[in-house]
């Protein structure tokens, strides 16, 4: 017997997919900033924030919204070797495949881009830029100096990378959009909308503000952490629904299950 909670918990598996995007006030605000800065004469745009704050999600949405109306390319996984990176950029611009035995010459590419000035404006979205090497980042900057290619990059900050990153980017003309964790209210809306979008209205009615407060105390509104919390919570629901259904009430969330989740994830110790 499969429980309906199995489908509920799967909503909270981490995935960067456009149709999972939830329109939160903060996310919408950042999205609009992002769209606006694409029209400014900036060379690069940086999406910056702690892991799990929705950078990839935003980039993904931007790509799908604009791919019909602009020249836009999206590298969702980092391409670490320079050779491979230049090749992918060249192929994206020219729409021609580079034969295997050849490689793209960087100076050539630069000159090629300069020639396109005034004719084309191409946007590249690069996710996970913290993985790119310093040398490759320098080439990316040089490419953006041509004003033909505009890069939007995401970079996740860890505590000590924070300062380095900021110093690093201050010297250039950057637009920096910083993403942060959700507020308690946003977390509430996030969870409600996520459930309702997938048709689990009844389940969404089970979740009250005080439950959100409980979750928030442990996840601080981080999307990834909160997803993990809810996944685990509904995993517990699934188990009880299958094995001891009399213990499962669909009126409101069970305090016991919430606490079990916190225990399981190590937020509290028993």
């Amino acid at each position: 017997m499969t429980s309906r909670f199995e489908n509920v918990k799967n909503i909270f598996i981490d995935s960067v997919e456009r149709n999972n995007y939830v329109e939160l006030e903060s996310a919408q605000h950042n999205y609009k900033l992002l769209e606006k800065s694409l029209d400014k004469p900036l060379k690069m745009i940086l999406l910056f924030g702690k892991p799990g704050t929705g950078k990839s999600m935003l980039l993904n949405k931007l790509y799908h919204n604009l791919k019909e109306s602009r020249e836009i390319h999206y590298f969702d996984a980092p391409i670490l070797s320079e050779k491979e990176f230049l090749r992918r950029v060249y192929e994206a611009i020219t729409d021609k495949a580079v034969p295997n035995e050849l490689r793209v010459n960087f100076d050539g590419l630069l000159r090629f881009c300069q020639k396109l000035k005034g004719e084309r404006e191409i946007v590249f979205l690069l996710d996970e830029c913290q993985l790119y090497s310093e040398a490759l980042m320098e080439k990316i900057r040089l490419l953006s100096d041509t004003r033909v290619i505009k890069f939007v990059i995401t970079l996740h900050k860890t505590e000590n990378e924070d300062i380095i990153a900021k110093q690093h980017f201050k010297t250039r003309i950057w637009e920096v959009i910083e993403l942060s964790n959700a507020s308690e209210d946003d977390l509430y809306i996030y969870i409600q909308k996520k459930l309702i979008q997938k048709g689990f209205v009844e389940i969404s009615n089970m979740i009250k503000k005080k439950h959100i407060r409980f979750i928030y105390t442990y996840t601080y509104g981080n999307f990834r952490e909160s997803n993990k919390f809810l996944y685990t919570l509904f995993d517990i629901y699934e188990y009880f629904d299958e094995n001891r259904p009399h213990k499962v009430s669909t009126e409101k969330l069970s305090k016991k299950f919430l606490e079990m989740t916190a225990l399981k994830l190590g937020y509290i110790d028993g």
Binding site: I13, P51, L80, S81, K83, D235, I236, K256, E259, G270
Partner: protein, 290 residues
């Protein structure tokens, strides 16, 4: 399944602990309110005897002080107050309290004076015995409390449940140390497909980078290098400080024919980590000994 039962037991244990704490708090609050009730009623008697003036002052009385200070204060105004009490002359009392100033401390004296022994010697000896009594009382309280808690806890847990928990705790450390063996055993006994499926399920639940890394290793051994690359990356995203995930990622890249990429990744990681193992791996790859 068993995991869930174990988790539930942990939760029972956690609940028992929490309720123990709240019982302690309730008991403490109860005692406090009893104490303040007692002092309040004492003050009340006198409040009835005297006029409004004192009533105003009385509002300032802090019950805590009342219970702490009586013995010392008694010395200062022993007799006059007793007289007041006997005579219940309003004016006199007002005078007396004016002398002392209208703050709370005067009132303590007034309030508690009658119960305080008159002779100093006796006072001293009583002090000692009363201390003892208090001590005994609290000890008694503690034991009854402990009993109470036990009784309360068993409404949450049956005796057998309690005993299994104890058992469980003892076993936990042993189980933990056996965990790694278990994983290996599964690997050897079951087919590798089975192992991979089990691990995938496990990872889905745990989101533990170790599980992802084990999966990466399993795929690597099966020569499914793009899978092992993917899982190493997953492990690395959760915990990027783990050497192994970097190594696994690079080794997979190497096997996928991306030698330069593999070296680049390791070198960039080595810059940060200075891990000798990483260094060794770089050398190994560069000299084609892998």
């Amino acid at each position: 399944m068993d995991n869930m039962r174990e988790l539930e037991k942990r939760w029972y244990f956690y609940r028992a602990k929490e309720s123990l704490r709240s019982i302690n708090i309730v008991a403490f609050m109860g005692m406090m309110s009893l104490a303040s009730y007692y002092t309040y009623t004492q003050v009340d008697v006198i409040k009835n005897l005297f006029n409004e003036n004192i009533l105003v002052a009385e509002a300032k009385v802090e019950p805590k002080k009342v219970t702490v200070e009586p013995i010392i204060l008694a010395k200062i105004v022993e007799k006059p107050v007793e007289e007041h009490l006997k005579s219940t002359k309003v004016a006199d009392v007002v005078l007396a309290s004016k002398n002392e100033g209208l703050d709370g401390s005067t009132l303590h004296v007034v309030a508690l004076e009658p119960v305080i022994p008159i002779i100093d010697m006796e006072k001293e000896s009583r002090k000692v015995t009363s201390k003892k009594r208090v001590y005994k009382a609290t000890r008694h309280n503690q034991t009854t409390q402990r009993k109470m808690v036990k009784a309360k806890a068993s409404t949450y847990l049956t005796a057998s449940e309690l005993s299994t928990i104890k058992h469980e705790i003892k076993r936990k450390s042993r189980v933990a140390s056996r965990n790694t063996e278990n994983i290996k055993k599964i690997n050897l006994n079951g087919s590798s497909v089975n192992y991979i499926e089990t691990m995938k399920k496990k990872f889905k639940r745990s989101k533990n980078p170790r599980d992802a890394l084990l999966l990466a290793k399993a795929f690597y051994e099966k020569k499914a290098y793009s899978q092992s690359e993917k899982w190493a990356l997953t492990a690395n995203k959760i915990d990027s400080s783990n050497d192994e995930s970097w190594h696994m990622f690079a080794k997979s890249k190497l096997k996928l024919g991306q030698k330069n990429e593999a070296i680049k990744i390791l070198e960039s990681y080595y810059k940060k980590s200075h891990s000798p193992k990483t260094k060794a791996l770089i050398v190994k790859i560069k000299t084609e000994r892998l």
